[in-house]
Structures are given as C-alpha cells and as structure tokens.
C-alpha cells in the first residue's frame, strides 16, 4: 500500500532497463519500496538492472515483457498482479528512433509508433484494469514534452508521445473515482545513454531530476508533471505560436 506521502511499497516497471525508471526506482527504494518487478525483454541489461536494484535493498524480480507483442500483455502482466498488489506501475518503455533514418524507412518509424503508442495503450489498459480491481494504485506514464507540439526535428517520436499523452490523460479521467491515480510525466530532454551524442534542447534534465519530480507528484497526487517545472510555462507559450513561426524555431 502507498503511505501518506504516496510512496509505494511495490513497484512494477514496464521497460525495466530505462534509465529514468531505474533512477525513480532507486529513489523509491530508498524511501519505502520493497518489491520491484522489472518487465522487459530478457537481456543481460535487464538482469544487470535487477542486480543493481537488489543492491539497493529491494526484492527484485524480472518478467519477460515485449511492448511490441500486445497479445501477450494480459497474460504476462496478469501473472505479476496475481502475485500481490502493485502499488505503482511505471510505464517507461519507449523508442527514441532516429528521425532522419526513420523518415526514409517507414517500417522502423512504425516500430517507434507501435512501441511508444500501441504497446503503451495495451499495457496501460491491462494495468489500469488490474489496479481498478485492487482498488488502489498509481499508473505513472512517461510521456515527453515532444508530444506537446510536434517539431520538425522529431515528429515521429513526438507524434507517438502525443498519442500516448492523450491516451494517458483520458485513462486518468476514466479512472477518476476508482482509487486508481494516473499521472502523466512530461520531461524535456533527458541526458541518458540513449540521448548521448544528440543535440540538447533548452531546459535539459537528468533521470534523477525526473525521479524527484515523480516522487513529488505522487505525494501531491498530481495528474501532470513537467520536468523541469519551467517547461510548463515554456510549452504553454510554444503551444500558441503560429505554425510559420514555430517551424523556424531553432529548437
């Protein structure tokens, strides 16, 4: 069960090798979390992530989960929920893609869209239903500021996150009054291994900062969290710029 500050005792991470997810898990383990499920494609990276969290003092288990195989989600995740209540699910899987390459190769663009959106819709619905049955839980969805308004530079990724963001907001409204809390997290550019070498946008942040924001959002039972918080203001300006101007922005 979550405590008065919204900190979970059990955590399910979808996308168990995500750096943001691991930073968040570390932070929650330091506070309360004892049971962690890492869901992801079986790999040495997943095992390493599990060992890393075990070293922090949590009881960690891994489960073979593939975002691109929605047909298996109900069964795979159902088994996790059958083992005991999950106080928080962190939906953290996603592909950044390579915009230039993906524009020329529609098949790989579709993979980005299917992972980030279709996979998340399926896994999100499965987890939300399971949490509704247990009458409590937080579903934390890692969206992105890129989904707020699609940019020339990464509109394939951005559009998939836009879909995910809209889905998660709607799901949050659907879950209102059921005891399940859905929180959309919109980080800006996050410095991780995946983004290494890419050009940073302004207001870049770190996985640790996202973890801090998630912890705060849980305490406040927030529905939307921006990381850093200043992005909320920046994006509400950018959102209203005329297209002709927005197109020419250097970001």
């Amino acid at each position: 069960m979550k405590d008065a500050f919204g900190i979970p005792q059990s955590l399910l991470v979808l996308g168990g090798t995500s750096e943001i997810a691991l930073a968040t898990a570390r932070r929650l383990i330091a506070r309360r979390t004892r049971t962690v499920w890492l869901a992801g494609r079986a790999s040495s990276a997943l095992d390493a992530a599990a060992d890393h969290l075990r070293a922090q003092g949590a009881d960690v288990r891994t489960v073979d989960f593939d975002a691109l195989d929605p047909g298996s989600h109900a069964e795979v995740l159902g088994k996790v929920f059958a083992e005991g209540d999950i106080d928080m699910t962190l939906l953290a899987f996603g592909l950044l893609g390579d915009q230039a390459h993906d524009e020329a190769d529609p098949a790989s663009a579709v993979r980005v869209a299917q992972t980030n959106y279709t996979g998340a819709v399926s896994a999100g619905l499965v987890c939300a239903a399971a949490m509704q049955t247990q009458g409590h839980g937080s579903l934390v969805v890692l969206s992105s500021v890129a989904g707020e308004r699609a940019r020339r530079a990464d509109f394939i990724y951005g559009s998939s996150k836009a879909g995910l963001d809209a889905f998660a907001q709607g799901l949050g409204d659907a879950m209102y009054g059921t005891g399940v809390h859905v929180m959309v997290v919109r980080p800006g550019f996050v410095r991780t291994r995946t983004t290494a070498g890419r050009e940073e946008t302004p207001l870049a942040t770190t996985p640790e900062a996202v973890a801090v924001a998630v912890e705060l959002g849980l305490r406040r039972r927030s529905e939307t969290v921006w990381v850093p918080g200043a992005l909320r203001v920046a994006m509400s300006v950018l959102r209203h710029l005329p297209r002709s101007l927005f197109r020419r922005l250097p970001v």
């Binding site: 069960m1 405590d3 008065a4 500050f5 209540d85 005891g179 039972r221």
Partner: protein, 479 residues
C-alpha cells in the same frame, strides 16, 4: 441492504485514498453476518465515523462494512452506571443520552465523533489515561462477529478480548458492547490552566500536579526553540460538582470559558450561561461553528500562520487560571466545534504523528522534541500527555510514560524521511507509534514497537485463516 459501489475513501488525515469494491451498511446482526459472509476475496473491514487518521478503516478492492446504522442504546442501568449499546453509536450520541442521567463516557478522545466499536478497536485513550486507562478497560463484555460468521460474547481477561481491544477491527466486527460509565453531577468542567516555560518545567508539572487531577493535557509549542523549547499550556480538569457550581455562582463569576464553547456568542462572559447551568446542570449543549470550506489553499497552515497561532495561544493562556468553568465540548473536543477542520490542511492532507516512550526514556523524548523543533515543521497544537500503566490489549498503544502527538501537512518537503528517522528513535527507546493515527509507518518496525504482535498474528491465523478481515493498514504493515 444492497451493496453500493464505493467512492474512494481516506482516513481523517485525507491521505492515500483507496476504493472499496463494496460498501455495505448493515442494519441488523443478520445483515452484518451476511456482509461478512459476502466479503469477497479481498476481505472486509468495519468502518465507523472515519476518524482514524490513516488507512485503518479502508479496504482497497474489498468490502467496507459501515457500522453507523447499528447505533441503538440497548439498555442503561442508571443506578450502577452501565450501558449496553450497539457498536455503531457515537460517543456524541451517548453523551446526549447519558449526561442527563448523570453519567459520562469513561474515556473520550479529542473528538466525540467516534463509534463505540472504533473506540474499542483502536483502544482509545484520553486525558484521563493516568486515572482511568484506555477505553477497553471499562468494557465488561462485547459481542464479536468473527470470520466464521459466529457471534461470540467476549469478556475481559481472555486472549480474544485482548486481541480485539486495539486490534484495529482485524479480529472481527464488534456488534455491541457493555461498559461502565463515570458518574458526574454536572455537564461542566472545572478547569485549571497554567503555563510551563520549557520542557523540563512541563514534565515536572505533569508529574506532580497531574496526579491531583483527573484530566491533564499540555499543548506544546513546537516552533519555539532555545530557552523556550517545550513551552506549553497545561490544562487540568475535573467534572464540576454541584457544590462547586453554587460556590462559583456565589462568587459572582458568571460565564463559561474556553475555546470551542461556541454556545452562542451572546452569553460569552454573561451571567446567563451560569444561571442556565445551575437550572439544568446536566444539559449537553455542544454548539458549532460553520464548517471549514471544502477548498483551502495548500499551505494555509504554514510556519508563519502556525507560529503566530502558537504564540497567541501561549500568551493568551495567561500564567495561571483556576476553577474556570467550561462545557464538556469546550474542554475535551474543541476541534469538533469546526466541522471538517481536517480540510484546513489543504487537499494534500496531513499526518498525525503520535508516539509514546516509557518512563526512564525522558532523554529520548527531549531529544525527539529537540529534533522536531530544529526542523521547524509547522505543527499547530502539539499535545503532550503522561500515560498511566499500559493496557492489556496486545496492540493497544498506551504504555506507562509519555506521549506526544502532532499534526503536520504532508506537503512539507522532507517530512516523510524525517518521520522515518523519528520512528527509529522511538523504536530504539522502546516506544511505539499509535496505529489509529498511523498512515506511514514501515512494516519492519512494527514488531519492535508492539512486542505482542506475534501472538496477535497467531490468534488471527487461527480465528481467521482465510483472512476475511483485511484493511489497508493491515496490508501496509503486514499485520
């Protein structure tokens, strides 16, 4: 008795909302038996008036058994002072019924709006713990609906009684109880107020003058540091006798005092109230202010407002007042005068932290108070009391020694980890935190704080092998 789909509920602290799958409100024993039988796989837990601060009366995804329809007084022995009533009746209602007969509840917490079932399940204590112990000490017998659907009559001195008193509803549903009352001549309190300049002074005063009074409590200012560390206002009370009331009138001292008297401002300080009190010495008139608004800006009760409030409270108390007459509601339940006062902490809710440490651990107590003051979390009206001997309930909170309780809004950065550190200090000093208030303890410390936890678990495993009685609290703490 149709089951309803329940909206999410919280405790009085308004933290960690969860939704039960079924909300049932039985109106008879038979309906209660049926409710327990139909609990479903996630079990059920009885709920009264929702005054436990944390998640004790929540059951996510399971059944909530709302006991407030079982609220009848079954019999009163006005000669011997014994009442038998259903478990869903509130102490407020009992006062309305019993005060005119010259009887008062044996123990009352800081609110009248708790049920008798909740009073036993949380084994509540009051300002008279030193003289009277906890609520369950006055219980002569209770009817308990257990997981197998049987109704058992449970009497003190048996393992089932000691597990049920303070057992947080996890042994079964208390359906009714018979308990002893305390005789009173009037519905007024004679109150002495004094100030303590620091913590040592306070503990001395509670030790010596507390012995002479039935009810004693200290409001402690946890924002004052330095040489004022632990400065407080002590309040001692007795039930006013008819002789005192006449003497009071003869001396020409008129009105009733006390915050939360709220009987109508017109009579404040006038002779009317005392004259009426003499005509009807046992009348119960609690009175009320308007409710707190449903939206309050987060951070209303911050350091500045609370600091100012505490300062005024301390200065306003005066160095010493004796023999002041107050209504029962003003003395025991000032916060009941403001319905929904828990909203004042904003939508994030608040944590009530109450711990006890035994005699001989005064140093630990001082150390903890010092830590709280140093962090400067805004805690309006923290309360220090001296407990008498511990109570027989296996999970009862009181232990011979000291207890401090404080409210703090959850939106304070670092509050969670800070309270975790306090838990460690409290456990290391052999103390414990109160489960009826708790919304955040870690399960690892529970066994250290409650040494009879294993016995409780064993009894529960035998009595309720399918875990029919489950709450968010029992899940969180793995009770």
């Amino acid at each position: 008795m149709p089951a309803e789909i329940a909206d999410p509920v919280t405790g009085w602290g308004r933290t960690a909302p969860t939704a039960a799958a079924r909300l049932v409100r039985p109106r008879s024993y038979e309906e209660a038996v049926r409710a327990v039988r139909d609990c479903g796989t996630r079990g059920g837990i009885p709920r009264g008036l929702g005054r436990a601060y944390g998640d004790a009366a929540q059951n996510a995804g399971g059944s909530l058994i709302d006991m407030t329809a079982l609220d009848r007084v079954l019999s009163v022995d006005a000669g011997a002072g014994i009442v038998e009533c259903e478990a869903g009746i509130s102490l407020h209602r009992l006062m309305e019924v019993l005060l005119p007969l010259g009887w008062f509840v044996p123990v009352t917490p800081g609110t009248r709006h708790v049920t008798v079932g909740g009073a036993i399940g949380s084994d509540i204590h009051g300002r008279n713990h030193r003289a009277s112990g906890s609520f369950s000490r006055h219980v002569l017998s209770l009817d308990l609906l257990t997981a197998d659907g049987d109704v058992r009559t449970v009497v003190p001195g048996t393992p089932l009684f000691d597990a049920t008193a303070g057992g947080m509803g996890l042994t079964g549903v208390i359906l009714s109880a018979t308990f002893r009352l305390h005789p009173v001549e009037t519905s007024l309190m004679s109150v002495d107020t004094e100030r303590a300049t620091d913590l040592d002074d306070l503990m001395d005063r509670l030790t010596t003058s507390g012995r002479r009074h039935r009810y004693s409590v200290a409001w402690i200012d946890l924002l004052a540091g330095g040489s004022s560390l632990g400065r407080s206002v002590l309040t001692h009370g007795e039930h006013t006798t008819l002789d005192t009331l006449s003497a009071h009138a003869a001396r020409g001292r008129g009105g009733l005092g006390g915050w939360g008297g709220w009987g109508g401002w017109g009579e404040w300080g006038s002779r009317g109230a005392a004259a009426r009190a003499r005509r009807q010495p046992l009348a119960f008139r609690p009175g009320q202010l308007p409710a707190a608004p449903s939206y309050v800006a987060q951070g209303l009760l911050g350091r500045t407002t609370v600091g100012l409030f505490n300062e005024l409270w301390y200065r306003g108390a005066g160095r010493r007042r004796t023999g002041e007459l107050q209504r029962i509601s003003a003395f025991f339940h000032p916060l009941d005068g403001v319905p929904h006062w828990n909203r004042l902490y904003g939508r994030g809710g608040f944590v009530r932290y109450q711990f006890a440490v035994g005699h001989g651990q005064e140093e630990a107590l001082v150390r903890i108070v010092r830590r709280i003051v140093r962090r400067g979390f805004p805690a309006p009206l923290a309360v220090l009391k001296r407990f008498g001997a511990g109570d027989p309930g296996w999970l009862s909170f009181p232990m011979a020694g000291w207890t401090l309780s404080l409210d703090m809004p959850t939106d304070r950065t670092g509050l969670g980890p800070f309270l975790d550190e306090l838990d460690e200090d409290v456990a290391a000093a052999g103390g414990r935190v109160c489960l009826a208030k708790d919304s955040r303890l870690r399960p690892e410390l529970l066994a250290a704080m409650y040494p009879r936890l294993d016995e409780f678990r064993a009894l529960r495993a035998e009595l309720d092998p399918r875990a029919v009685f489950v709450s968010d609290l029992s899940r969180r703490l793995s009770i």
